[in-house]
Symmetry: C2
Subunit: 496 residues, 2 copies
């Protein structure tokens, strides 16, 4: 015994010795009330210092795996329940197999079916991938993030590590309320809930709303963010998609749909700025028109503040919630995920104060509260003025890449219609007949992948001639090479 | 204009100047195409350096709030949608008021009704409060947490800040799988999902299971963790409570309930170690007996690993999932929240691999993934061997407080039956007739509060003579003084 002990580099030796012996006890190789080798002996057997063994034995005693007999040495505790072989029911237990698949409800089954990440393309490392719209981590200013963490820990480390509040970290809420006020939002009568990113905020909002009939009815831009489509479906909503035009949602079609007497809608989900996947910014005139319609038909709007900060040209445009003034019909969900750090899971819901009260209780029931460390790092980072500095740098870099990608598309993919006014991706629409899933297969064989656009459309069979190109994490030369390859493959599709 | 500018201390001056002017633009005090004062003038007006104004103007231009005319100066951009007053629909919008309460579904309404934190007692600062079972933050080793963060950031900071995986941070999963193996768990055929604490894990598991009939049926210890009761109710479960005995759940009563032909149960939720609120550890014999019954009746067990590490005496006892051997019927949910840092929202679900696959997709739909920063700090903290060191310190301190609290209860509250074998609280049962809500009112008037025990019971009217005393965050002298006061008040209740 004790021959198979092997030290690894990256963990304290005492813990490695303790866990090694503990495992022998649990496996039954060392039995209850058996005397352990003396610390001197064990030190020789494991080739570690005697002090290490003394500390490891103490650890075992504290953990209840051993006990000391004064003057005699350390003995193994008689453990209960650790060895299935010991107990009469061992065979029953080993045979206790559930068919979990049969016990999954529709929600769980749909969650897997609608989960596009699971069967995601596993591409070899050298593949040129336009699938990601996550930020380029090389832009991250790690030093500033470290400093934000250390600053905040110095101020209130003990508070950060203990329980926080379901509603969120107060200094961050105050900061973001002012931030939204600076975007022109009238915050009177409104309040904020901090969530683990946009997705949790959206899911909590959906889970609180009572649809007018058994199945909810939602209006969305078509195409739209596939996570939104997924979560609306998971919550039982039927979705009516309104086509996109060059300057945002087709307002005439929207009005036509709303006028149908036979239908009522429970909510609209809209992404007015740098819309995912088309990258289109809704024009001020359309924003006005949309808000008028929503007001007239009494339909609450969930506004996705996605990428609002990644504007590359033109003047600022107010979010819909600012346009609504004191009205309480817009639920704004914001996040810095794409602009700053997706790893910090922080988003926010800004909405009517009474509504936030309900959402707060749901948040508490679901996950108690959002990571205080994440919230406080974000807060201090913002407070230190790093955000402005970082966004300036990131915007310059992404703008450059955006223009490069656009130029490459115009050069190599003249047959495709291009959209995207900012953000981290462009959207391409090919002549009907070009199936982008087949195009993807052909490109993949050439070492280039992208996101086929159909997954952003409400109904099966729509958008089969579209694709999304995320450029944020692709090197310049690969942007050129990748788009050239897509162009070559697309031409052969157009010929056939 | 520009007279009301006031600098605050804790933010970069450039940002304060930029936001000040931006707000004037949004409010309409500065109008579109109006020329801004020259940087020299503005520097004098705001009493900041000219370089500051130059940088602030640049920031406004980048943000689309101003534009530069070469040789002439900076001008205000004409913003769209920012002023509700500007637009024709302003009055409609202001009048656009939803009655959100009327749009909340049963789930949202119940979440508020069952939310005991919201109407929680707001006690003055000098009150002696036994309501918390959160750890004492003075024990936190902030230096080690800081080091864990810096170590991990140095190794892979860019990875930590970008998107992670729904399943969790791989190094942490590997670590925790080994950790659970060291508790005797057979991990073959099992897998792990990292969640934002126990609560999210529990909620995700419940939301995946398909009950045999329309309303699910669950078995719990009675009393039990009130968050579990809340979330079971929110998911539509009817709960059958099995009374607690000194060594855990009443097995005879459990068997009697299971034998009823008319009823089937979808799951059991059990906390075998340091049960909340009674603090009782289920005996090895009962663990065997319970697992036999669950196997015989085919009822999956959700095991709450709550406080397993806060053992103050006796040998280690294996969790139920270890007792189950290769069986896949136990879903173990663990968390270091109470032992380590609740602020790090990290828990884990260890269960059958196929089941984890479903839960992973639900997790992705709900919040994409758990904070990578939290997960990586926890991982590095564990890897550095800080956990053992910290638990040793915390356990010594809590054990001392536990014994002090116990001694005080025995001295001042001889009329109450005491339970609690470890953890951060004790549970008291008074003779029937002592209503602990009334007792709480009386004690509150004397500056002492605790948690009335009835909220941990399944049915209204149960446990009205019980209370929970959380001692982890109460100073020694206050433990003595507080319990003496509870004793005095209780005596007057017993007399009447």
């Amino acid at each position: 015994m004790f021959q198979d002990f092997k030290l690894v580099d990256d963990r304290p030796v005492v813990i490695q010795v303790k866990e090694y012996i503990q495992r022998l006890i649990i496996k039954g190789a060392l039995q209850g009330d058996q005397k352990l080798p003396s610390t001197r002996e064990m030190s020789g057997l494991l080739k570690v210092s005697r002090n290490t063994v003394i500390a490891a034995y103490e650890g075992l005693e504290e953990g209840g795996f051993a006990y000391a007999v004064p003057g005699k040495g350390s003995y193994v505790s008689a453990l209960a329940g650790y060895l299935a072989e010991d107990s009469a029911e061992a065979e029953d237990s080993a045979g206790w197999q559930f068919d979990w698949r049969a016990r999954m409800n529709d929600y769980a089954v749909s969650a897997v079916e609608l989960d596009i990440m699971k069967p995601g393309i596993r591409a070899p490392k050298e593949t040129i991938s336009f699938t990601s719209i996550a930020p380029d981590e090389h832009l991250f200013d790690l030093g500033d993030v470290r400093r934000a963490f250390l600053d905040r820990m110095a101020i209130e480390g003990q508070v950060l590590l203990n329980y926080g509040y379901a509603k969120g970290y107060k200094p961050l809420i105050d900061y973001l309320m002012r931030y939204m006020e600076n975007k022109g939002v009238d915050i009177s009568g409104k309040d904020m809930l901090i969530t683990s990113g946009f997705t949790e905020g959206f899911d909590i909002v959906l889970s609180a709303l009572r649809p007018a009939s058994r199945r909810g009815a939602a209006i969305c831009e078509n195409p739209t963010h596939h996570t939104a489509i997924k979560n609306l479906h998971l919550q039982g909503y039927q979705i009516t998609g309104i086509p996109m035009e060059r300057d945002g949602i087709d307002v005439e079609e929207l009005e036509r749909v709303l006028q149908q007497k036979s239908r009522t809608f429970d909510l609209a989900y809209l992404t007015p700025s740098y819309h995912n996947p088309t990258g289109i910014v809704m024009s001020p005139a359309k924003r006005s028109a949309v808000m008028k319609l929503m007001t007239r038909y009494g339909i609450p709007v969930i506004e996705d503040g996605f990428n609002e900060e990644l504007r590359y040209s033109g003047a600022h445009i107010a979010p819909l919630i600012a346009t609504a003034g004191q009205g309480n019909g817009v639920i704004y969900i914001g996040s810095f995920s794409k602009v700053l750090f997706p790893g910090l899971r922080v988003g926010w819901v800004l909405a009517d104060r009474e509504l936030i009260g309900y959402l707060e209780s749901i948040k508490r029931a679901r996950s108690i509260h959002t990571s205080t460390i994440d919230q406080s790092i974000l807060y201090q980072y913002l407070l230190n003025g790093n955000f402005d500095k970082y966004v300036r740098k990131a915007r310059a870099e992404y703008k450059r890449k955006y223009e490069l990608t656009k130029a490459c598309c115009e050069a190599y993919l003249p047959q495709a219609e291009l959209s995207g006014d900012g953000g981290l991706h462009l959207f391409l629409t090919f002549p009907t007949g070009v199936n982008t899933r087949q195009l993807l297969d052909a490109c993949n064989a050439q070492g280039v992948i992208f996101t086929p656009g159909d997954r952003f459309f409400i109904h099966e069979g729509e958008g089969t001639n579209t694709l999304r190109l995320g450029f944020s994490r692709v090197a310049d030369e690969n942007i050129k090479r990748g788009i050239r390859i897509i162009g070559e493959q697309a031409r052969s599709f157009l010929r056939t």
